[in-house]
């Protein structure tokens, strides 16, 4: 049970990292973070980006479920 959840967690984590890194980065780093003063004018996101968002949200939810599930399983095993 623990092993199963652990493997699921690893898989979802790797997927999540991959998906997030596939996004186009927004925000221009440090100078933008603390008072760069520029208004970024970014247009609407593309269809591919929106689908990617959807998949990322689903994987993120599954990841959260796996985290909580694994924690509970470990706790009740003791």
């Amino acid at each position: 049970m623990v092993i199963g959840f652990s493997i699921a967690l690893i898989v979802f984590s790797l997927l999540l990292m991959l998906l997030v890194l596939m996004h186009k980065g927004k925000g221009g780093g440090l100078s933008d973070m603390f008072g760069g003063g520029m208004q970024s004018s970014v247009g609407g996101s593309s269809v591919a980006e929106r689908n990617l968002d959807r998949i990322t949200v689903i994987v993120g939810l599954l990841w959260a479920v796996a985290v909580v599930g694994l924690a509970l399983v470990i706790k009740f095993q003791k």
Binding site: I10, L14, G25, K26, G28
Partner: protein, 438 residues
């Protein structure tokens, strides 16, 4: 002020953005309370209670993660890896010609640098996650705690790997949340997340001061700290808004039948052009020697002893001087790389602008450089002094380390707050409403 907020919520577009941002923040704080699987939550809580929320070496990073670091939650690393990655890339743009070329390229180049930052964040998250899990397992995270070495009961390699991977993906998740806020919410996501983490620590540490205080059942210290905090916020807002306006006159030009230009504007040179970045640079840099000692495991060697007596405690004169000097240096350094007088002068020349009384071209660049240099001196000294306030307060009032209105946190809170309010305001003004800054 309040009606301004009401108006902000009445504008459908803005309301959507504000609610989206708030929703993300709720998710962020929620994740900061879920412990990583494999951590014994009761033991961790006991240790935190014993340590009194004072993480010593990890104090600053713990503050940046909103207390999530010591609790070993899935968002334990917070946005620190992203900040570190940004700092590293920012410094590297000065050194590596390829990155400099990318930066000059404009939008596409910046996008590429952002992408590098994201990859570097992932690498740093793996590193810091491994370090954190290792210190937690060996029991050095809480040195004084009885059950310090039972925080992570199972130390098998597989379990360790699962924990590190969970923390890493948590960090990546935070990065995505920040980008979502930047994209669809209001303000810059990363800085708002940092704002939230720091602000989340305030109530707890304020209550801690009340508990530890003696005057009037602790309420005396409580109100004193709040008053000092308010005064400091006022001071910081005052200096952050201060700017020197260098007048610029544009020549009138006739193109066809229309006339262009002929206007007089100004170049705003802020007193504190660099913002909080010098403080963050300096404290991250000063944190490195202590980290080296921590990971070398050799605490008895001469150099390690020297570092841990001189460079780890925030109230040692050596540390204070170095901190101050580094902040001043980085203030100048950052202004030098972010504002290029020659470029500005060139641009002005191109569009027919000049500063009254000064010739266009090289004299203008020299003048701008001169003004910038003189204005950065008070700015950098102010930054250094503000950052030293908590330490001085500790020395004077014999207060505890968790003085919540520490210089760094106040600078970040005020800076981010001002920036975000300005953005909301500009969104409001697009709809012809008067904003809430009058």
């Amino acid at each position: 002020m309040l009606t301004g907020f009401a108006r902000a919520f009445k504008t459908p577009d803005l309301r959507k953005k504000l609610l989206f941002t708030l929703g993300i923040l709720v998710l962020f704080r929620l994740g900061a309370t879920i412990p990583v699987p494999g951590v014994d939550y009761t033991n961790v809580n006991q240790c935190i209670k014993e340590a009194g929320g004072n993480g010593g070496l990890f104090g600053m990073i713990n503050m940046f993660s909103g207390g999530a670091l010591l609790q070993l939650t899935i968002f334990a690393l917070g946005i620190m890896p992203y900040i570190t990655a940004s700092i590293i890339l920012q410094l590297l743009t000065v050194v590596i010609p390829r990155l400099e070329a990318l930066k000059k390229e404009g939008q596409s180049g910046t996008a590429k640098i952002t992408q590098y930052t994201r990859y570097l964040t992932l690498a740093l998250a793996v590193l810091q996650g491994t370090g954190l899990v290792a210190t937690a397992q060996s029991g050095t995270l809480f040195r004084t705690c009885q059950v310090g070495n039972q925080i992570v009961p199972d130390t098998s390699i597989f379990r360790t790997a699962v924990m590190v991977i969970t923390m890493t993906s948590g960090t990546v998740m935070i990065m995505w949340l920040g980008e979502l806020i930047t994209d669809r919410g209001i303000g810059n996501g990363m800085s708002i997340l940092m704002f939230t983490s720091i602000a989340a620590g305030f109530p707890g540490s304020l209550w801690g001061i009340k508990q530890a205080g003696k005057i009037l059942d602790g309420w005396g210290e409580f109100s004193l700290v709040i008053l000092v905090g308010l005064a400091m916020v006022c001071l910081v807002v005052f200096v952050e808004q201060a700017q020197r306006r260098v007048p610029v006159q544009y020549a009138k030009r006739m193109i066809g039948r229309r006339s262009y230009g002929g206007t007089s504007t100004y170049i705003p040179l802020k007193v504190n052009q660099a913002g909080v970045i010098p403080v963050i640079f300096a404290s991250s840099l000063l944190y490195i020697p202590a980290l080296v000692v921590q990971f070398s495991g050799n605490t008895t060697a001469g150099w390690a002893q020297w570092i841990s007596t001189n460079l780890t405690k925030g109230d040692h004169p050596m540390y204070l001087t170095l901190y101050f000097l580094l902040i001043v240096f980085f203030a100048f350094f950052y202004v030098a790389i972010s504002f290029n007088p020659e470029e500005v002068a060139d641009n002005m020349k191109k569009y027919g602008g000049f500063i009254p009384g000064i010739r266009a071209g090289r004299p203008t660049a020299e003048y701008l450089g001169y003004v910038l240099n003189r204005i950065t001196w008070p700015g950098s000294l102010y930054l250094g002094l503000i950052a030293l306030v908590p330490t001085v307060a500790i020395a004077l009032f014999n207060g505890s380390q968790n003085f919540p209105f520490g210089g760094t946190s106040i600078l970040i809170i005020v800076g981010v707050g001002l920036e975000t309010v300005k953005q909301i305001e500009s969104q409001l003004q697009q709809r012809n409403y008067e904003g809430f800054l009058r």
